[in-house]
Assembly symmetry: C2
Homo-oligomer: 242 residues x 2
Amino acid sequence: MTPSDLARRIDHTILKPEALPPEVHKVVTEAIEYAFASVCVAPAWVGKVSAMLKGTPVACCTVVGFPNGTSKPTLKAIEASSAIKDGATEVDVVAFLPFLINHDVDAAKAELMEVVRAARATRSDVVIKVIVESAALLKAGGEKGERALATACQAVRQSGCDFIKTSTGFHPAGGASVEAVRLMKKYGEGLLVKASGGIRDLATAQAMIEAGADRLGLSASVAIVEELKQGGTKAPQPTGGY
Amino acid sequence: MTPSDLARRIDHTILKPEALPPEVHKVVTEAIEYAFASVCVAPAWVGKVSAMLKGTPVACCTVVGFPNGTSKPTLKAIEASSAIKDGATEVDVVAFLPFLINHDVDAAKAELMEVVRAARATRSDVVIKVIVESAALLKAGGEKGERALATACQAVRQSGCDFIKTSTGFHPAGGASVEAVRLMKKYGEGLLVKASGGIRDLATAQAMIEAGADRLGLSASVAIVEELKQGGTKAPQPTGGY
């Protein structure tokens, strides 16, 4: 994989609540310089960031119901639609976890469909990713955890979303894991997979791609691409919070 | 302080994203039994919880823009209004932290005013608390951190909100501290103060009240009230995430 192959799989991400304008500005500048897939920012930043990205090939990605997924489906739909009007072309929506833990595909699907309808009515080619907090689902352990993740894949697929995404990076149960990505490829036929949350070095990023990740959500994007340019071979580090 | 004095200062809180219906149900039942001030749940739960609380003296509290505070002011306004229509009588809104860190009272106030107008138009006597993530603000350190917290107090006061609240319980910088509560009493004249985030024992709860907290946001509410009933005297524990 060349550095530019890697770069085009990266959503260059800044979601910490205390991010200040110069930090967000720097992330946007880096994304243009490295030709990352997108810049991923909170809804409050979308207007400014999408204006900065205008005329570049870098997409503006945002998050909805983030990070807990406990706002109402209607609110998630309004938030998605509003962010798209502000210039977002990709939205990463956090699913309501109790539906997944309880293996309630119908309820999970109904929630996502409400967001999908509003989002696609606003912009038909918007890319929709669904964050299912895989570490929290798998924490249930064994067959039960795997079944929660299978439920998530089914709901995401049936609601016509594009990606299933591992993690917010904010949940204490942790971020992306190779196991979660593998299970998403197993149960999410036809879905693209985004691995995110605690991926801080090249070896971990490469492990996620080898497991099947199509997109990576990273804050350490520049360091990781630079590590590849220098032929880095450090061992993977444990993933964690943001 | 009697156990019932303590209980009436407590917002009995369950905000973890993976909370399942039986856990939420248990929290509501406990709140009624112990006569806590309110049950605090995410917006997705407000309809069910407020129905369960009908006819009791326990209020239904919810959170808005939670926990990052990075949704747009308009969305926070819609979310508050929607939750009040669902039955919430208290809303805890997370402020956009960059305004506070940059000491921009006008921008912080404008955001809060948008939420206040929408919330009070829906229910004139709604109680509005503003979460300012004091540990993150104070992390800047010394005079700069204190000035961010003073900015927060000024914006919350001028926008006509009822409470200033320390923490979401989800920020890695930590939860409530005695220092934060003291500074809120110093700079937030006329405001009520809610201490929340990582308060897990009676000694810590009492320290917050002694520092000036009028309300406490707790998950360990039952254990703490029981500790008081048994005349507990354990040393305060360090506060942390949820």
